[in-house]
Homo-oligomer: 718 residues x 2
Amino acid sequence: MTVIASRSLYRREQMSRTFSPRSIAVVGVSANLGAFGSLTYTNIAGPGRFAGPVYRVNAKYESIDGQPCYPSVAALPETPDCVFIAVPRDAVEAIVTECAQRGVGGVVVFSSGFAETSIPERVAQQQRLLEIARAADMRLLGPNCVGFMNYGLGVVGTFGTASYKGAPQLGAVGLVSQSGAVGAALAQAQEHGLSLSHMLTCGNASDVDVADQVAYLAGDPGCKAIACVFEGMADPSRFLAAADLCREAGKPLVVHKLGTSVRGAQAAVSHTGSVAGSHAAYRAAFEQAGVVMVDELEALLNTTSFFAKAPPPAARGVAVAAVSGGACILLADKAEVHGVDLPHPTPATMAVLEQLIPEYGAPGNPCDMTAQVLSTPKQLHDCFEALMADSQYGALVVPHTYAYGPATARIEILGKAAAEHGKIACNVWMTQHLEGPGAIESEQHPHVATFRSMNHCMAALAAWHKRADWLRDYSGGSPGRLAPASVREHAANLLAASPNAVLTEREGKAVLALYDVPVVREILTHSADEAVAAAREVGLPVVMKVESPDIPHKTEAGVIRLNLKTEDEVRHAFTEVMRNAQAVSPPAKISGVLVQPMVPQGAEIMVGARIDPQFGPMVVVGLGGIFVELLKDVSIRLAPVDQREARKMLDELKAQGVLDGFRGAPPVDRDRLAEVIVRISELAADQAEHIAELDVNPLICARDRIIAVDALITRSRI
Amino acid sequence: MTVIASRSLYRREQMSRTFSPRSIAVVGVSANLGAFGSLTYTNIAGPGRFAGPVYRVNAKYESIDGQPCYPSVAALPETPDCVFIAVPRDAVEAIVTECAQRGVGGVVVFSSGFAETSIPERVAQQQRLLEIARAADMRLLGPNCVGFMNYGLGVVGTFGTASYKGAPQLGAVGLVSQSGAVGAALAQAQEHGLSLSHMLTCGNASDVDVADQVAYLAGDPGCKAIACVFEGMADPSRFLAAADLCREAGKPLVVHKLGTSVRGAQAAVSHTGSVAGSHAAYRAAFEQAGVVMVDELEALLNTTSFFAKAPPPAARGVAVAAVSGGACILLADKAEVHGVDLPHPTPATMAVLEQLIPEYGAPGNPCDMTAQVLSTPKQLHDCFEALMADSQYGALVVPHTYAYGPATARIEILGKAAAEHGKIACNVWMTQHLEGPGAIESEQHPHVATFRSMNHCMAALAAWHKRADWLRDYSGGSPGRLAPASVREHAANLLAASPNAVLTEREGKAVLALYDVPVVREILTHSADEAVAAAREVGLPVVMKVESPDIPHKTEAGVIRLNLKTEDEVRHAFTEVMRNAQAVSPPAKISGVLVQPMVPQGAEIMVGARIDPQFGPMVVVGLGGIFVELLKDVSIRLAPVDQREARKMLDELKAQGVLDGFRGAPPVDRDRLAEVIVRISELAADQAEHIAELDVNPLICARDRIIAVDALITRSRI
């Protein structure tokens, strides 16, 4: 397992010597050009690359290729900011020590075979590297990483032999990848025109991890949006803090999280020793932090590049224009999948389009301009102009079927229309023809976002609107109040006082009531006479159930009776419930029989809380019964949530139609329901150390009230 | 709207002069090299293209570029098999007439502005072309199409100016695209090594449509699998017949259907005049016909190429091996999404892998071989060999992070291991670097399927297993029996006899009973005394409800009473139901009150039937209540279905867990339930002309029996 002492994010200054060095050394350069050190040296010091000094270090050579080689870091004429270490694993520690002594800013360790092997000595070996680096306030990248690239400075700090043919480029997208190979594979997009500012990897992330790297890029002037792919981290709260820095800097953060499957999560442990964590918890946290999630690796860079180029949406609608009717249909299909709105053009826009488009075309949205408009650039320009000028649209999507000669000019026309209206244009290539004319021009146009998948394009547009909504609603800092200290203490005492691992319904409801969660009234009775008196008090009809910490599944045990309408029925039920309770094996502790009023029918909701091992308290909402158990139709958030977030949770449920008054039932008051969710989320947050799990199921939502009729609280093991 | 007289599929011989011509003419060639006719001529007759004679036709020229040009088709020295017509719309008819008179095999009409405009004269104009062609038994491609390509013969029969740089190539994938631009965009993959045999388009599909073209390719020896993208067709049964020819020929048929969204379906009408039809009906039909569906255009060709290369799966399991741990995780995540099984290697395989892989790697599945195995080809080969030899695996997936020098050799090693074991290897490029070394070699390797998306790769593997299951279970021809003639007639008479547009419950159940659908017993009563007598006969407790054709929603009208336990309650209920029924406004016709035994609780299922305007009778199954109404959790098939198909429908329901005995309820007998679905599907098929809609809701599935307690049959309008 990776060993990371929990700490706050590194500040940018603490990492700038590493990622923006003025001088570099490579340890392990040799006469063998295929050695990792030599490859790294060439990548950094080659023509057109890093302009500062790059020193070779290897005790075996005095010079290589006629250039000086130094025996040690200590022997260098100056202290390098960043040192790449390409030596066998067991030689790493000495070099790291030497660097620490010399006052190096940061070291990059390529070697593998440390904590990711899970072998105790190797874990300890990594831990020693970390301690040496920390003691010297020196950053440590890796081990088991492939380094990093700072394109603006020409630092291609990796041993990869793939060509990096593009000139160093001050770019728009900063890429952070925990996995080196994945990052390196993605970074090849730079050669195809995609504008990258950095590619940072961290491998085993012993010191610097993806959260630090995201934070670094949040402050980098060359980077407009950040793409991040990672498999797991010990302390995701640091990642959320980095996401907040991105928000402050106005930089969209786009993430593809790996290890979302059972097998993938297992593989993550043996890859970099990472715990992939709960996918649902990550999704919830990202949702709350305004992080854009993409669910395919192939979508990551194009989506981030879109975000780097796109201004805030000027309108909700998106226009689609193509010279192919088939492409129009394809895009309309994907727009619907992602809930992207394609409003019809205004009459004024339609009038212009009808003049421009031949009769066998289709002015409208999608707009089939027909291939004829390609014959005169003016006609194409006027179509784009008409759609961009329509105030309903914030973006214009144009599929291109071919990358060939005229494509470059057409992309220029499209980009100009976007620039003039301060909107974004999306070019979707419908071909795998990547090297053709127009391909690089499209990637590099500041007002044209480029996609190679209609699906990814429409998903990005949907995410763009969603992020804008999130920014609009962002209320700053931690949401929701916490309960007053007196309530917190009282509830903690109740939780501590229970002798049971699982609280009885009665105990659980007492805790809920402290947090203003409406619970059904109940009277604990010990005889049939008491039960009848209680029924009179709460009013018939009533429900009766045993109160016992040892019988959680009451229906199966026959210790619950519903809808008792007469005093006779109550008396009879008491005897029956007690008899069945006493028959339970092994014998159960029985405190008596609860008498509660029968709550009228209504929509049944489940509100629960869990303590995630990485994220802490989470609140869960779903419709009762089958929806949660069979369909997993739930919405999850980090607790506590505020009223707005609770409303959003309800809006996410697939079966939410039930809340709108299903089959003649009255609609549920979503605001009141959201309030209950807020209260339960506060309980979860306040009492996170005392509870392991909490289920209010069902919470019955009738026309005039919402009331919890059962509650199950499992205490945390102490 | 497109005008197509329903007819059976063209036989291959009827289309071979068009798509495999021995001689070609292009009408509309001119001295202007940019004219459609000139472009088409060059595409067909250029160097290395079609070897047979290609004639120019244009009355304005005697020669072009020093080569002869003929004034008319009539004046040609021989009768061409195929004539491309690139003249203005209003000149088309005369040329088509001339071709028909000369005995041409087929004409290809590029011109637009016919039926797709929906202008009546233009629709008629297209219809005349069709009639002329049909009368001469001459095939007509288009109008409004971009032609076709037969790569084997070098016929690049289109006006597109994009380069077709690859040499003509006898390929594995036959592509059929209704939309010309979409087809032409896809066909560019041929330049990147994807092996195409044909690219056929049909535009307005007045004569030859995608179904005919699929049928043509089913019989083509150069084509091993067929890719088809289309938006709609007038008579999809012909497409299903073509799919059956593919099955007979052992050729997988892979389809991307456009127009699945509301807006996309609207756009389809203005594009080629096509009715996109019901997406659900198409899906159902494709499911039953063993058609592989891809839901992204970008997946179409790679998936089809995979199917062209893949042998039948030798085992259910799939192995994943990578030199990147991140890539391993990514693939495991997508495998889970698509339900692809990644079993652990056998102990014998593990023993071999553990010898080969460094300790910081991860032998297993996915198998992180680490980048070290790349240093010796032997080691890489041995890893692939070990996994391919493991009898649990039918396929091996290997992501490649770079297309660079050594990639070619590695693909060779991978392909060799696949070939030796008669299995398929999948290479997933993790880069957009398409032109690099290995890219074309990977596409062209007969044992390596190439993908550019992990998602598409895993989806294809899942579809491969699904198709194998389908082939195994294929029982030939039309499924299910139809009912005996006497039953059919009797039911038709009952349906015809009802004076109501919507049959009463009693009438509906009588029809169902004829088809052996178990229905709850009932007695129609006209007085409280009769009701009591009926209750005695069927046994208390009972349900009572009004019998009226005018009150379909009984609960809301207060004309249904449940769980009546005593004769008094029955007597009282009769009066109440009658009073409420008589209070309905406007006044309802009342036949009396039905008395039925109360059916014990059980899972509630909805089985229905619809008559799709294109596909005819369909059967629909879902769980009762909210699942159908709010979650649209239903399974649909063309009716009738057999027992196996009915079981598969149940297996498709997301909420099927309810059938397995939810919360202590007894599990539903799926075989008996499937039998009822079969019966209702037979009813739908038999009575398709009499009924518009049928709903059995609920069908109650208790432990020991399944019984329909309500039925709503809407008659078709006559």
